[in-house]
Amino acid sequence: MHEVSIMEEAVRLAVDAVKSSGADRVTSLRLRVGALSGVVPDALRFAFDVVCRGTVAEGASLEIEPVAAVSWCSACRSEFAGEDYFNECPRCHKVSGELQRGREIEIATVEMN
């Protein structure tokens, strides 16, 4: 399961960060997930509990920050909001496949004590 592998990596990075900061526990973790990343937030939440078990992140809370898809129109030299990989520019109606944001699968912050 794709989301489990991704969550394992997130928890591993969070646990590493806690250890290298000399803190004891992860209390909260924030991820950034793009609308077109192919990753399902609910599946991440489900994986989180399982993956944290037995680590210093057990009991931590999870926050998922959604990132909307944004395309770039090279004709208008501007960004516009889209819902897909290919979106029609609302100004010139040219279809753009240049995605600026929306594919993120990132760990943003770790809160610890």
Binding site: L13, A14, A17, S37, G38, E104, E106, M112, N113
Partner: protein
Amino acid sequence: MCQECGCGTGGGDVKIGGHPHDDTAHHHPHGGHDHHDHGHRHSPGTKTLDLNLSLMEKNDRLAERNRGFFRAKKLLVLNIVSSPGSGKTTFIRETAAKLAGDLRVGVIVGDLATDNDAARLRVAGIPVVQITTGTVCHLDADMVARAAEQLDLDKLDVLVIENVGNLVCPADYDLGEDLRVVLLSTTEGEDKPLKYPPMFHSAQVAIITKSDLAVAAGFDREQALANLSRVSHHAEIFELSSKTGKGMQAWLDYLVNLHAHGGVQPVHHH
């Protein structure tokens, strides 16, 4: 979550070449970045650390290492992706058999639970390593690195990686390949590229397979090509039948030419 690959219905660990994968024996130290502490205190004893790291970074780094290693060995590496049942194994077997004499082909096969695909290739005399992924619905760069150790790469010109049959999850995982090749069979419908744009968009080659069944399946070729050119406008497109061999020659010539010119420019999936 991936609905195609039977996630969560299987069980067990990743096995490579029939051996269970012991994670502790292959520990890769994680040293690619520093954890800069830009922390600011919220309440006594609690602090927040900004990491801002891609969760695909570790895989991407291992994939780049694979790519460098494979290039040094002068291997042309293909990552073959498709939905289940679109004919990956037959396509790979026929490609390897017809390249014999020109290029030597070895295969890494990823499968959720069975060894069937690897067995089908092995009886054809092709060097094969099987990765049984258990519940994992994609191959990653680390699995490929460890599987590749079990092949005599110095005796190969082309390494074909048969990914798990799934058009969702493998899209995010760079394996260190030169070419990502997506198969679309005439029996599965023209709209697959529109349903799975990340996978089709990330491929450098799109192959329409089972062209011998196109008429029987009512395959709308024009629509399929239009959908492919919309989502994978940069991709090389081949139409062929692994079974009858029709259209295979153009694909084989493409590979021979690519191998002779040292592969393609590095690809970036992210």
